[in-house]
Symmetry: C2
Subunit: 337 residues, 2 copies
């Protein structure tokens, strides 16, 4: 290794004074653009700092987007991450992935201040977190995908979870079910909240009262769906249908029902939410409300790029439809009562 | 927005000459360390360039590791990614994730040259790719996890796929199976190769001949396992056991068997490889050879950090055991023949 080049070496190579090199490095607007370009080229060629850093200094951009996510092992989140990667790659952008499940919020907050990236994608905003507020306040262009926060002044692209849940409830009501189970999550974000409230609204509109003992609030893993099914199905008069707010819980419910010998859809109908790839697998064949991942990501990254170009654009909140996808965990025939 | 600070402003703030600011920015070794630290602090506080870039200039490090991966939607890869994220976060390191499935190899090669990161983690090295060679040749510290490349002079941490596959074969042979199906992948990497050859070796050692029509080479998705099962099981004398080289294919095989009404393990035993979280789900209850993700990632990131500290350390290749985890897709009783 030779010694790193000095500013004198660099000035000589660029054919400028040392003061000019210094002005370029300190973003002094007085340097004329051609000289500036020549100096930066020399700096890059001399490798006195990494190329990407030199380019970042030149353009003020890192061509990198920071993505905040939780639970990449959940099938839905893995599909969301894959789609984000696909869209960013197609645009020639790098992705820094922060799995905020593993990072204390404090250290994530610090990272946000560091301006490592040109923009933020938040996929798991929750009401009890201040990350989205910190991200927006940092001035770095930010978009919320999949999970939105009401009233937050930033671009957001979400599914119409309420309507999708309503359609699932109406579908069960119209099929003649009256004993219906709801396996739900704490309302920490808009997805769990709207997927719960939309479903209840449909039952209320159909004049169906959901029994308090048929509503279980659980955690996110498969095992929690499994336990919930076992609890609901061991009642004297078990529900004839169970709706839940994520596919992962629905898989657990199907497995819990299977363990008890309860036949689906013969004895029990099950509906999930997300329409993940796994929902179509023979083991599950799950009726599910679709979260339109592809459209959410495409639209969201487009908003983010437009915000990077024009930081003063007014914030947009875009809501995309969540259609019900019917498979064999429910039947197309009325429920025998 | 005010104008960006000039080198004159910065020099005044730091109490040094403009020439000193310039020397600091060009890494001139003549600046005394205290002065250097003071100037960099002023630069950071003035935000004349992003903090992370200033720190990168100061330390020569970005505190960021580049992770190359494919197929994050496959349950095994999602678990691997989650574990890498967990370990890097605990060390205060950022992760740039390159999903090389979406990026043409050429552009990935370019990224490697840009020195955006302190080190590379490659999780999906294949014989027909030159990425690992480019990564190692770039001089950036590199570790191969999960997939290794024989003879490549860099740190590698892999599971003992051959031995794990051998144990699966011996287990089937000892249980009395003689008609055995093998659903395998092209040998594009060491995992598919060793998981195939180890299994064949065990059958050969047990004096069992595997019929050519019982060996199917397929693609990676669940649907390919499903189709393979349907093909193998519709033969006049179908195999009584099927072993395959990934859990994802095994899930497809279980689903294909289910669609035909073939009972597992009554009519058919199934063994997968990876021991993903899903393998334990009731739907599958899959006997599987474990890929020790946690140990592979912990060990691999440790090797990478040691290489970043000491680039001249000799390369280490570490192989960790892959134990067979028996569940209900196989029985603990001898096969009735």
């Amino acid at each position: 290794m030779t010694r790193p080049p000095t500013s004198r070496d660099l000035a000589r190579l660029a054919g400028v004074s040392q003061a000019t090199v210094s002005r370029v490095l300190t973003n002094n607007p007085k340097v004329n653009p051609e000289t500036r370009a020549r100096v930066l080229r020399v700096l890059e060629e001399a490798n006195y700092i990494p190329n990407a850093l030199a380019r970042a200094m030149k353009t003020g951009r890192t061509d990198t987007i920071g993505v905040f996510m939780t639970r990449v092992t959940s099938p839905f989140h893995a599909e969301l991450l894959d789609e984000i990667g696909r869209v960013l790659s197609a645009l020639g952008l790098h992705m820094i992935l922060w799995n905020i499940e593993h990072d204390p919020e404090e250290s994530v907050g610090k990272m946000i201040q560091q301006r490592l990236v040109d923009g933020f994608v938040l996929t798991s905003a929750t009401y009890d977190s201040s990350l989205h507020t910190i991200a927006v306040a940092s001035g770095t262009p930010t978009v919320l995908l999949h999970r939105g926060i009401d009233g937050l002044d930033c671009d957001q692209v979400v599914g119409d979870n309420w309507q999708g849940a309503y359609d699932a409830g109406r579908y069960l009501a119209e099929a003649g079910h009256t004993d219906i189970g709801l396996v739900t999550l704490e309302h920490t974000g808009n997805t769990s909240r709207d997927r719960d409230l939309g479903f209840r609204a449909a039952l209320a509109d159909a004049g169906i009262r959901i029994k308090p003992r048929n509503v279980l609030t659980v955690g996110v893993p498969h095992a929690d769906g499994h336990a919930a099914a076992q609890k609901l199905l061991s009642a004297k008069k078990p529900p004839t249908a169970i709706y839940t707010v994520t596919d992962l819980l629905a898989f657990g419910i199907l497995d819990g029902a299977r363990a008890l010998g309860v036949r689906v859809p013969g004895d029990l109908w099950v509906i999930g939410f997300d329409n993940t790839d796994l929902a179509a697998w023979e083991s599950f064949d799950l009726t599910s409300v679709e979260q339109p991942v592809h459209a959410i990501v495409e639209t969201g990254i487009d908003l983010l790029r437009r915000r990077i170009e024009n930081p003063d654009r007014p914030a947009e909140i875009i809501t995309l439809p969540c259609p019900l996808k019917i498979r064999k965990s429910t039947a197309n025939t009325p429920w025998r009562s």
